[in-house]
Amino acid sequence: MTEPRATTHDEVIMEIQDVKTHFNARLGFIQTLMGKRVLIRAVDGVSCDIRRKEIFGLAGESGCGKTTLGRTMLMLEEPTSGSIFYRGKEISALHASQLREIRPKIQIVFQDPYESINPRMTVFEIVAEGVHINSKALDVSSDEKVASMVEKALRLVQLVPPDQFTTRYPHELSGGQRQRVAIARALVMEPEFIVADEPVSMLDVSIRAEVLNVMTTLRDELDLSFLFITHDLALAKHITDRLAIMYLGKFVEVGKSEEVIDEPLHPYTQALIAAIPVPDPDGRKVSVLATGEVPSAVSVPTGCRFHPRCGYAKEICETTEPDLRNVGGDHFVACHFYEEATADFKAKFRKSS
């Protein structure tokens, strides 16, 4: 087994195989005339599956490709190569018209509830819009049916009683309420899978939990699956079931969230965790285990992408890209020297606790 796959008794909702999404960078007019092209390898060979009733976390620093991967899973970006399956059906091979029938089942919630919902529409119009657009796929024709779907969606995100919210405009709502409207807009289509792209990063900490708890309740009660994209590993630990750490377009580590955070195996994951401040003045202090900053996805290093910043890099790391391999249970890591790195990390950080 070389990929983070489900065991047979889990029901797989989304599956991706060796997905790559590359973009042509936009260059100046002259450079384009001269035939110069630059390729951004945003997602560069990722495989995984997301199971029913699972919140799958995707974490990494800005520019690692996590948002592009989320969009590609929903076919909002065309993958350059690789396949995407929804319930075993290859959606990356479908025509636009066939894809439209699947769309309601795979939805997205964006980061910024101040940007992602139309300020001139009422809550009802915002939530109902997708139903109108997809009325054929959803087989909805009557206005009463639309109204009852909107009401149900608003109840699910705890905007109750719904009739107190339907006629309001976004500016009359708080940040947390806006983001719940954005979730309702996805839920109204009765999806099975939702990509939540940094859904709480624009919200103050005191109200984040109201949005996060809506998500976990939907998972528990409606058996929904989520791809939860975040840069916040502390949050990922508490919200997600499994977690993938992404670096320059590839997964470097995947596993159960608590295992990845409490027993990280990849030097990059270890560097991320050591860099996160702990909300306890008497707890451990931050340390820097990786040098420099993330290079651009235009000039991806040879071999292991992390080697220029890694304290364990040896010659092989410059030449040979490590595979993501299973190291027991559900835990996968892509590093030639993870055992050495992990031993050091444990000695440094786990002795005291």
């Binding site: 900490v205 708890n213 508490h238 965790i273 860099a275």
Partner: protein
């Protein structure tokens, strides 16, 4: 020894919607060489306090009353030209939020740092250039980046240049307003360690303004929790985190996820931060507070010492705990 004493500072903004009571009776003091955290959420007034300290307020802001004593001298009473010449940058400097936007894109980074020196001191140009090169070294930028333009620097390097600029005249007090907010976590850690080592080496006092309680725990000796334009709790950092005495602080601590410890359900504080044009009648946190009684809606609580060195603005501070 007290470096900065702020007493009963009150500052309002006039807007079309009404008067925003952004800072309301804020008092605190800061010892030489200590680090104070001002922590609060968006709209709490924490950045307004920073801007008031440097007297960089927009024109619709008005300081209603209060004193700011720097080494015993009221710097609010000093006329602006003198404040610019003697205080700003020489004695109090600012590490601003969002490094991306605080550098001028058309000037070389080294020259921008040099400008901070030449505007606020009489150092000759050649010596100022030398000083900039030394500063770049201090903040971990190689000297050959002197003539780089901001767009040629990474996010972390830009923030380092901002720090170099703030340190240029060796001020005894630096105000850091969300110094790492736009940065990724590994770069954030690099910057935090840099700030810590410089602060210790130069024995500089620092005020860190942030929404991130974990960052406060990492960096600060003392903490003031800001809510609705007021300091609602003030104590040593370990007291704030282990034995908070204000319901808002307790709520915040329950709401933040920690990278350490058991997986748990996060708990939010119900409701919304107050509208500072029409704040609640008495305690500003009362509408969101699970402990609130009638008294909280009618009588203004005061910031009271509930334990030695531990202040809380809550009628029930002695009865509540984490």
């Amino acid at each position: 020894m007290t470096l900065l004493g702020v007493e009963d500072l009150t500052m309002h903004y006039s807007t079309r919607g009404g008067v925003v009571r952004a800072v309301d009776g804020v008092s605190f003091s800061l010892e030489k060489g200590k680090v104070l955290g001002l922590a609060g959420e968006s709209g709490s007034g924490k950045s307004s306090i920073a801007l008031t300290l440097l007297r960089l307020l927009p024109s619709n802001a008005k300081i209603i009353h209060g004193n700011m004593l720097l080494d015993g001298e009221d710097i609010l009473a000093i006329p602006e030209p003198e404040f610019r010449r003697e205080i700003r940058w020489r004695r109090i400097s600012l590490i601003s939020q969002a490094a991306m936007n605080s550098l001028n894109p058309v000037f070389r980074v080294g020259d921008q740092i040099k400008e901070a020196i030449t505007v606020h001191s009489s150092l000759p140009d050649a010596q100022a250039t030398m000083a900039v090169k030394r500063l770049l070294g201090e903040v971990g930028i190689s000297q050959d980046r002197y003539s780089a333009f901001p767009h040629e620097l990474s996010g972390g390097m830009k923030q380092r240049s901002i720090i170099a600029m703030a340190l240029a005249l060796d001020p005894p007090l630096v105000v850091a307003d969300e110094p790492t907010t736009a940065l990724d976590v590994i770069v954030q850690a690099q910057i935090l360690l840099l700030l810590k080592s410089i602060q210790r080496k130069m024995h500089m006092a620092m005020i860190i303004i942030t929404h991130d309680l974990s960052l406060v725990a990492e960096m600060c000796d003392d903490v003031a929790i800001i809510y609705g334009g007021q300091i609602v709790e003030y104590a040593r950092a370990s007291k704030i985190f282990h034995n908070p005495k204000h319901p808002y602080t307790i709520g915040l601590i329950r709401a933040i996820p920690s990278i350490e410890g058991e997986k748990r359900r996060l708990i939010s504080i119900s409701g919304e931060p107050p509208d500072l044009i029409k704040p609640p009648p008495a305690c500003r946190f009362a509408p969101r507070c699970q402990y609130a009684t009638q008294k909280c809606n009618t009588e203004d609580p005061v910031l009271e010492e509930v334990e030695p060195g531990h202040y809380s603005m809550c009628w029930y501070a002695r009865d509540i705990h984490l």
